[in-house]
């Protein structure tokens, strides 16, 4: 690795209200480590601390539902009530011990609830049309419900500040509720919240203004957005969805409304062939997707397809084709375009794990920092390796996406056996996240 790249990566990044020690962010990744009711666990704390210890400058939390109806999958720590503040304060305290900043990602799934849980039968959305891949059912939000969710975002953000964390990230991408409003491929409203771009952006802007009012002017607020929907990535007959030009316009409005930074992703669903770009691990999909059969009306069709050769091989080919040419930095052209249009820092997600690639992207002005998910699951110490002069980890992430596919049923971790000396070593490594579970004598 050249010294320039290293210098660029380890240069502090100044947001308006927050300075972080380097340009490496842990993206929102998580695992079902918490209690079903949304209360947090020691395992979540230990999981996050692992990355702080690995030298990352900033951790963006797992998606934290700001209301039980907005969960994506149960067993994620919530920010839906003041009684959760103590938990988040403790995460912040533990992560800060490693000179790492902590930003809480506040989220509302909308109709994209992979496992909806027992509390609510249907998700909320801009539309009444079910989510198209799994057939997840939803109900069209009334204006009253929109206002309630806007207020819930503000309340959650206030809790983040009260928990003494370092900032808020609004989860506005990857097909979750805010995308469901922004995207013309999803939003079919005819009221003030649908139709023209200005109307589709109204919900996001109201959230940003309400959040800003709740946290004050001196607290960091960033927004994660899918710069393009690529709604036709899998189904060529579908519309493209939000274009880059539209997203740039939305980002400008969001900046005016009080956003201090942008986090660029892509795709109006999750997962999406662009995010996380990489492999489609057929065996793991078959093993894990069964859990989702009860979630939607199209899941059985999908499951049969995933099991059936050669249809599943064709699907895999189609899925992997989208990012065949480029995985690491797949979203850099999008981030660059946004960065040229706004004046606040821009960070970007998408397969980063090579210091020279990251340093180069920062040096050439494409981005101000990068966020990493899968490569850090594989190598939690990646930032320390960069600091020691390595350009890449000796055993890099293979983008196989087995981590993503496994987490619904099994603990999140790296499931690429080729990266370990044996299957047993892999299992030991994955289960090590539970080693810090408190002994009961100490919790009473």
């Amino acid at each position: 690795m050249n010294d320039g790249a290293q210098a660029a990566i380890f240069e502090p990044l100044r947001f308006r209200n927050l300075t972080v020690k380097n340009r490496l962010f842990r993206s929102s990744i998580s695992g079902r480590f918490d209690n079903y009711d949304g209360s947090g666990t020691q395992t979540r704390i230990d999981w996050d601390v692992k990355f702080a210890r690995g030298g990352i400058g900033t951790i963006i939390s797992s998606n934290s539902p700001l209301h039980p109806r907005g969960l994506i999958v149960p067993n994620y720590a919530h920010l839906d009530d003041d009684d959760k503040i103590a938990f988040w304060r403790e995460i912040g305290r533990r992560v800060h011990e490693h000179d790492c900043a902590y930003i809480a990602q506040i989220a509302f799934s909308g109709r994209q609830r992979d496992v909806g849980g027992i509390q609510y039968e249907k998700g909320l959305s801009s539309t009444a049309k079910p989510e198209p891949i799994h057939g997840l059912q939803c109900e069209r939000m009334t204006v009253q419900q929109i206002q309630e969710v806007v207020d819930a975002f503000a309340q959650a953000a206030r809790r983040v500040r009260e928990a003494e964390l370092d900032g808020v990230e609004i989860h506005g991408c990857n097909g979750y509720l805010i995308t469901q409003f922004l995207s013309p491929a999803i939003n079919d409203r005819t009221d003030d919240y649908g139709g023209a771009l200005e109307n589709r952006a109204r919900f996001a802007l109201e959230i940003v203004r309400a959040v800003r009012a709740a946290i004050g002017d001196d607290f960091h607020l960033q927004f994660k957005i899918s710069a393009v929907d690529d709604n036709d990535a899998l189904f060529p007959w579908a519309g493209k969805g939000t274009t880059l030009e539209e997203s740039i316009q939305v980002c400008k409005w969001l900046e005016e409304a009080g956003v201090d930074g942008f986090h660029i992703s892509a795709g109006n669903s999750f997962p999406h062939p662009r995010n996380p770009a990489g492999g489609w691990p057929i065996e793991d999909v078959i093993r894990s997707y069964d859990t989702m059969l009860s979630s939607g009306t199209r899941t059985l069709r999908n499951y049969v397809l995933f099991r059936t050769p050669p249809v599943n091989r064709i699907f895999k080919w189609r899925w992997e084709k989208v990012a065949r040419d480029r995985i690491e930095g797949i979203n850099l052209p999008l981030a660059r375009a946004v960065k040229q249009a706004v004046s606040v820092p821009v960070i970007c997600a998408g397969g980063f794990q090579t210091a020279s690639v990251i340093g180069g992207a920062i040096a050439d002005g494409s981005v101000d920092g990068v966020s990493m998910g899968r490569p850090l699951i594989a190598n939690p110490d990646l930032a320390n390796m960069f600091a020691q002069g390595l350009d890449r980890a000796p055993k890099p992430c293979t983008y196989c996406n087995k981590c993503l596919i496994n987490f619904i049923e099994n603990p999140l971790g790296c499931y690429e056996e080729s990266r370990y000396s044996s299957h047993d070593e892999m299992v030991r490594q994955i289960l090590s996240v539970f080693q810090g579970a408190p002994l009961p004598a100490e919790v009473t």
Partner: protein, 448 residues
């Protein structure tokens, strides 16, 4: 009615329990995936202790990772687990309630075995489990000795954790059943064939544990007195007869048992255990998650979804309960065992009426009863009995929704009719987490 017979102490070998109602083994996926325990498990068990039961039989605690039924149950497979169980015991004892740990090896009956496990379960046979097609590997004699040693080590750990006794999970198709049952065990060596051979694994385990823990530690065995395999799958042989099982119970008694715990069914779940409804919608919503566990699960799943096949299956499943009644369905088997052995006999099966329980004890059908579902519905049931109630105002309906929900969601009573509203039900189900420690209280617990 008189509940007097209930509120008499009972001697289970060296262990005295204050009366005749015990909580049966029931779990919920409360613990960590690696088998380490959580405070939720402790709070869950404490709830029943507070409700007045004389003793709690723990959730099935795997003696080895390969013996797990379902991931997220606290295990007893290493010494590291001892402090957790010590704390469970301490908390339960606060309510003058005894704690018996149930030790399990699931054998081939692995519903969601988790990623630690090898692709096959160990068993007496290499035929897969017949309903779901869970794959099995026939144990050689060396492996049998290893598993016995795992049980012995687990019993030693349990004793070190201060539990009041251990119970071997030998019913409902677990590994012991797989050896005991003539419908499953197809071995030609000294562990298969005659009743004596089929009982050898269980008898050797009981002897080995007794030798390890000494005479002053309570040791029980839960056994399916009749397999009734053909009530599940009509083309199968029924399995052990009453006479064979009674003989096995006598041998187990000789080997050093302090009590027998009577159940039925050569698999789990089984139409007789837990007897009751087959809630089709809940089954469809939950069974999906175990499709990847077996070779016949997808066939089953499609059948469970498809009318009228699912109606037919439901009719077939509910038949034994309709025919024999649910509360006390296993009393004839318990009576037969009790007449043949000298040690106390516990029996499970839908108990929730004080007069029925007292009557069974007075008639000499059993010495005590164990309760699972009715306690999920009414954790305070025994306190209600003590206050003179014959039944809870809102009894368990035997709808079995608890059973057919716990794989994906928190264990609890999911019969909405028992609540004022759905919201109240959700609140009640989720209340098990209310005692989760705040992080400020766990600080310092870990030094990683």
């Amino acid at each position: 009615m008189s509940a007097d017979a209930i509120f008499q102490p009972l001697q289970l070998g060296p262990l005295t329990v204050k009366h005749r109602v015990l909580r049966s083994s029931l779990g919920g996926r409360w613990d960590n995936y690696d088998g380490s325990g959580t405070s939720t498990r402790i709070d869950w068990d404490s709830k029943f202790a507070r409700g007045g039961v004389a003793a709690i039989i723990s959730s099935n605690a795997p003696v080895h990772q390969r013996g797990m039924l379902v991931a997220n149950y606290a295990s007893i497979d290493t010494d590291e687990r001892i402090p957790f169980w010590r704390e469970v015991v301490r908390r339960v004892h606060e309510h003058d309630c005894r704690y018996i740990m149930q030790l399990v090896h699931a054998g081939r009956e692995r519903i969601l075995p988790g990623l630690q496990a090898s692709p096959t379960g160990l068993s007496a046979t290499d035929s897969p489990e017949p309903l779901n097609g869970f794959q099995a590997e026939r144990m050689n004699v060396e492996q049998i000795r290893e598993v016995i040693a795992q049980f012995v080590a687990a019993a030693r750990r349990a004793r070190e954790a201060g539990v009041d006794g251990v119970e071997l999970a030998g019913a409902q198709g677990m590994l012991f059943t797989q050896f005991l049952s003539s419908a499953i065990n197809d071995r030609k060596d000294e562990y298969g064939g005659s009743v004596e051979n089929r009982a050898r694994f269980a008898v050797e385990t009981v002897r080995a544990i007794r030798a390890e823990v000494g005479p002053d530690f309570c040791l029980g065995f839960k056994i399916s007195i009749r397999d009734h395999m053909n009530e599940l799958l009509p083309w199968m042989r029924s399995g052990n007869t009453l006479e064979e099982s009674v003989q096995i119970c006598k041998w187990l008694e000789e080997a050093g048992l302090d009590y027998l715990h009577v159940s039925v069914g050569g698999g789990f779940p089984h139409p007789r255990n837990p007897a009751g409804e087959y809630p089709t919608a809940n089954v469809v919503a939950t069974y999906d998650t175990l499709i990847s566990s077996g070779s016949r699960t997808f066939r089953n799943y499609l059948m469970f979804r498809t009318w009228p096949l699912n109606k037919g299956f439901r009719w077939w499943w509910e038949r034994p309960g309709r025919k024999h009644g649910i509360e006390g369905i296993n009393l004839p088997e318990a009576r037969a065992v009790k007449q043949a052995v000298g040690i106390p006999v516990l029996v499970t099966g839908g108990f929730q009426t004080a007069s029925v329980i007292a009557g069974a004890i007075e008639r000499g059908d059993c010495d005590a009863v164990t309760i699972a579902r009715p306690l999920i519905a009414n954790p305070e049931l025994v306190n209600m009995f003590a206050q003179g109630l014959d039944r809870a105002p809102r009894p368990c309906t035997y709808c079995n929704k608890c059973l057919f929900t716990f794989l994906e969601h928190p264990l609890g009573c999911y019969d909405e009719r028992r609540y004022e509203s759905r919201e109240q039900m959700i609140r009640e189900v989720l209340s098990v987490y209310a005692g989760a420690p705040l992080p400020s209280e766990v600080v310092g617990a870990t030094q990683l």
